[in-house]
Point group: C2
Chain length 330, copies 2
């Protein structure tokens, strides 16, 4: 690999001039600039970003931490991030943690070591140290730590769950079960609260058997429904995301249930596929692209030292499709 030295030698100038020709072309004479450019082309030089970053401590790169690349929910968010990033000249690197905080640490390391300027985390499964606040440029999207002031963009999880369950109640359902994500996850805690709020408002008591835990994956939804089906008689089911809802729906169908006749299902997210399943999935839509765009915009503000702590709460929307219907006595 050719270095800046060789280019300088060939162009007959100093390395500083070569550097300037690249970083601030206008402050080097037209003629020398062309010599430099010719030399760069001739030796096939490409600057060593590591050395450059070491010097400037800026990489124009950001890292996005994703807990599970198999969960399609994150794809659109990433796209939103990329749109803004590209406009502002940032590269986006993705890190899949497979729900592993240790792996997440590797990606955070990129920021600490200046290989990336900032990080957007789509998961709260991060190393413990970090959960007590951090000095690195970081924004959380979707998930969050309730007690620490990290800039966040998210939805109102409790209100969203409340809306879903209220909708089912209004359809006349009384036995409403739900499949949660990891129970200690803040967004799941909030959504559970929304469920309870709606049920209690309607005068129903909470049955512990009406709840099962998954990990947001399709398979976990499938498995959770099988357990639920054995332990609790329900006419409606609310799942904390669409992947699990789709898994649960498949499980229900293969257990011989008709959706929505025997079981109404409501999910959350609104994935690409959710409108194309059979039946089409009723769900609470999260504005995925907007979440990504907003997160990136906030990160850019932070990087420009306009330090802001914001807790951005975006709007959700109930999309009624055909996996849910009015309760009917069987």
């Amino acid at each position: 690999m050719p270095t800046i030295k060789e280019v300088a030698l060939l162009a007959g100038v100093s390395t500083a001039t070569v550097s300037r020709a690249m970083m601030n072309p206008q402050q080097v004479a037209e003629k020398t600039r062309r010599k430099v450019e010719a030399a760069i082309a001739e030796v096939g030089y490409s600057p060593n970003a590591i050395a450059r970053n070491l010097r400037t401590s800026e990489s124009k790169t950001i890292v996005v931490i994703i807990p599970d690349i198999e969960n399609m929910f994150f794809a659109k968010i990433v796209r939103g991030i990329q749109t803004i990033a590209q406009q502002q000249g940032y590269k986006v690197l993705l890190g899949d943690t497979v729900h592993n905080a240790t792996l997440a640490n590797d990606y955070l390391e990129l920021v600490r070591s200046k290989q990336a300027d900032g990080v957007i985390s789509l998961t709260a499964e991060l190393p413990k140290v970090l959960q007590h606040g951090t000095s690195m440029p970081m924004v959380m999207a979707c998930e969050y730590f309730p007690d620490f002031p990290i800039p966040t963009v998210r939805i109102d999880n409790q209100a969203a769950a409340y809306q879903a369950v209220k909708y089912l109640l209004e359809l006349g359902h009384k036995q409403i079960a739900y499949i949660s994500g990891p129970l200690d996850n803040p967004i799941c805690i909030a959504r559970s609260a929304g469920y309870r709020q709606a049920m209690q408002e309607a005068g129903y008591s909470i049955n512990e058997l009406a709840k099962e835990e998954g990990d947001f994956s399709f398979h976990s939804g499938h498995a959770a429904f099988e357990r639920l089906h054995r332990q609790y008689k329900m006419s409606a089911l609310f799942c904390f995301n669409d992947m699990m809802a789709l898994g649960a729906m498949r499980s229900a169908i293969s257990l011989g249930l008709k959706v929505p006749d025997d079981l109404s299902i409501v999910g959350m997210d609104d994935l690409l596929f959710s409108q194309y399943t059979d039946p089409q999935l009723t769900t609470i839509m999260q504005p995925q692209t907007l979440i990504g765009e907003t997160a990136m915009q906030i990160l850019i503000k932070i990087l420009n030292a306009k330090t802001v702590h914001q807790d951005n709460v975006l709007q959700t929307q109930l999309l009624v499709r055909s996996s849910s219907r009015r309760y009917q006595k069987l």
Copy 2:
């Protein structure tokens, strides 16, 4: 951010000793090592990877280039790559190009500029220069350049398509249409050849109207089927991937067709969802995890300078499910 200097100062040793305590603990005295470790802990030191990489010219990081993060096909491949990478102490960074060769170049830049040691590309949509061979450590997976000797891991695309179409022919279908990916894509060219081979062997001529082009996305499959349905009367459809097959299947159903009674559909990949749609999708399975693992193993060999050119062809398998059935006169 504390540097090695501060640690050295606090521990009362030289920076060299601190460095050794981290890199080669055994060659520093037990006692000093403990002093160093204490100092590291006290100041909260974490080595600056940039500086380290600059020195060692090795980043223990690899980049995976993905053409479309929304296509679930790549998720399992990435997981395969990660498994091996982690075992060998490599970090994996993902770059989504949104089918854009310019963006792909940004990610290749990471390797040129030493921010990453090598690259695995899951797409052939790369800058033109690169297609004439490259000196950077790189392996292609799934897609490939037919004429350049880049180590590759892939399936036998022609044989796989042949197998799919042959299967439909054996079911008695004659009017077999197909939805291709981008027509200039080498894997699509190979799969088209497989289609033609099977049709011609069976004594059928090739009807240009029996073909439509998509971009491997769900939506493109949906749209392609609508066009196809207008221009060609078919009893069976082969799609070059599952995403498009699922899109086409939804389109067919909403046009009032019964799958598989009115239309048999065969896809390719075997996505997580493909076995859970209704009807379940018959498809040609690609060993996604194995593709990822193999690609990473080859890349590691290359990085260890055991330069190998390999063209690894992995096995596919026809999975007969319920989206296809014997041809019946209507």
